[in-house]
Assembly symmetry: none
Homo-oligomer: 211 residues x 4
């Protein structure tokens, strides 16, 4: 047992963090199968073996990356101040938040995608993620309840369906941006196109929840 300085521990935590970030980037860019452990090591400026030391194998590493990703979006979401608005407006705020989060963290949807390609095999073994995502559900749940009470949101809107709709409208656009841009012969990534998409998404959700 060696006494080790705080500096050391800091360094170690730091290196783990660097590996995690490198893995995050690599997995998002190339998917799980396309990602290379060597490449992650290089990005993290770490010895490859260290990755195995800290994370056991590629799957565990991916699982941790995924958990961190979920944690991040849910934390940011939870930090939103939605109480100040009527529920219907608050829901549109949520649409905006989701959209902007996807835009600012394009790897997030790519990670989810990769995980789904693998039939959620990592998520299945992750205890924490279900917990983490509970907030996603409950925030919207409360908004819906409040909306019904306020009369700003109609009856019969299911939490899960709402959450899925909010995600779906943005997710599909962004994840398929490459192919859609070709099929429509138009760059879906330019600002005007992105703004227009957000407008449509809000319009669509608003129409759907309107009493």
């Amino acid at each position: 047992m060696v006494i080790r300085s705080i500096r050391d521990n800091y360094d170690a935590a730091d290196k783990q963090q660097r590996i995690l970030q490198a893995a995050h980037a690599e997995f998002a860019e190339k998917g799980f199968d396309g990602a290379r452990v060597d490449s992650i090591a290089a990005r993290a400026r770490a010895n490859k073996q260290l990755i195995y030391y800290y994370f056991t194998n590629k799957d565990v590493l991916f699982t941790q990356v995924l958990e961190a990703a979920y944690r991040d979006i849910r934390e940011q979401e939870a930090a939103l101040d939605l109480a100040a608005f009527p529920a219907n407006e608050a829901i549109l705020k949520l649409v905006e938040f989701t959209w902007h989060y996807y835009l600012k963290n394009p790897e997030f949807i790519r990670l989810l995608n990769s995980e789904n390609q693998l039939k959620a095999r990592h998520l299945k073994t992750s205890g924490s993620t279900v917990e983490i995502n509970r907030s996603w559900i409950s925030i919207t749940e409360h908004l819906l309840a409040r909306g019904r009470a306020e009369g700003t949101v109609r009856d019969g809107i299911d939490v899960m369906q709402l959450n899925i709709n909010i995600s779906a409208l943005g997710f599909f656009y962004l994840i398929n941006q490459s192919t859609l841009s070709i099929l429509y012969q138009k760059d879906l990534g330019e600002q005007a196109a992105l703004d227009e998409r957000l407008r449509v998404m809000k319009e669509c959700i608003a129409a759907w929840i309107r009493p």
Copy 2:
């Protein structure tokens, strides 16, 4: 040019077809990177090298699979008899068609997904696909025009946004079925859940396009 028996041509064409189908299944199941040429050969009961003889390499093979996939959905879509309905209802028929197509051909969305993970690198080199997908656009275009004329669809609905919305609501649900089922602790694949999803999707689109 030698005259050759029908049997022969049939055999060769048949084998190419078998390879294509095997590739379709393999790529859909495992994604481009996860797919194995060996595995495709085994599925097609063909010699592995024959795949290279006919398709040059894995990328070309994927491109052809992708093109065939697009061709199929667009052909089926074009065969729909939408003229018999008012435009707003016809659009909901389109929502239904899309949804059922996705359900019956789960590989389709997985192929698209894989291609997007690769940033549309195959689609970029495929001349035919843009052409193939034109029908997707024009069918909806005509429906929208008719709907405005009939007064069953409101002004200001963009074709691309409509098409994307129709696809998005179903695509996201299905492609993320694995992870969503875990997060919501509920099997999203059972019939009742699927029916409910279709209902919500139609409800959402209907509300959005209503004059």
Copy 3:
């Protein structure tokens, strides 16, 4: 047994010839191992199987290419009119001829090289080549005898050594042109360099055979 027109036979001979030429070029360019049967077929605009029909396999094809190559240089050499010159000058004519032949038929030395890399495995089975090359020996033999009689060439010059010297001085320069050009940082292929080389070669041989 089918009676076939002269045209047909001509075509067949022609196609064999085309294959042979294509093989000549391919083998010279890439060596035996680097050469591709497919590539030869493409160059000859012939079906690959036809190559096997006519030539059995890659080795036989190479052997025939090699024999044709030897036949060609020896035929041209035999056609030289050396009787008009004193023997010492005639020998220098031979130096010139050899050099210019190498220059005009760069594949020749490349073929020889490739064959030597393979330890003459094709030549060993070729009956005709020894015969073909006899002229190479006898021409020089007679020149040497004449030279000694004339007093223009000294005693003690061995035929084989002379032939080898003549070939060596040019062959080495040309076959190693790529590496020598790099080591000497100078393009050994430009005309001035080639002319200078020939001058040196003649100078060297002349000095050596001088009585």
Copy 4:
């Protein structure tokens, strides 16, 4: 940077060395295209992938083999004590050295040959080789200058031409030994033939450089 036992460093360096030697032998025997990485691994009693770990790929490996080969001949050449002889005799010593080096290292000329077959594609990327070969040039350069001063070597002998002549006369004989032995129906590899060849080479060079 970790301090590691001498044993370790020795082992690793040793294994690299063994791989290099195995590659040297394999490339010389079969040429670049004919050489097999598997075979090199077997010769070196090393895991095949270790070759890639240390040398990236077959081309890099060949380049290093080539560099080592050049380095070796030039080092031995530089170690010759030529100052003790008049320049003309020293040049003949060089002829002898070159000849004996070729005899003792038959792979050397085979490697050069293979590289030339590939149009010097490895040498082109090798920075060190030009440097290494500078000594080849300068040694002869000084001998020529000294010879002219002493009056033992005539004017007008170019360094490059001299070097090439020295190499050419031996190189051609040895590299084409297989085919020449067949054409002349005589074993050019037996000692008497080798001795005679050296005599001729010296005679030829001597005659050429004589004032």
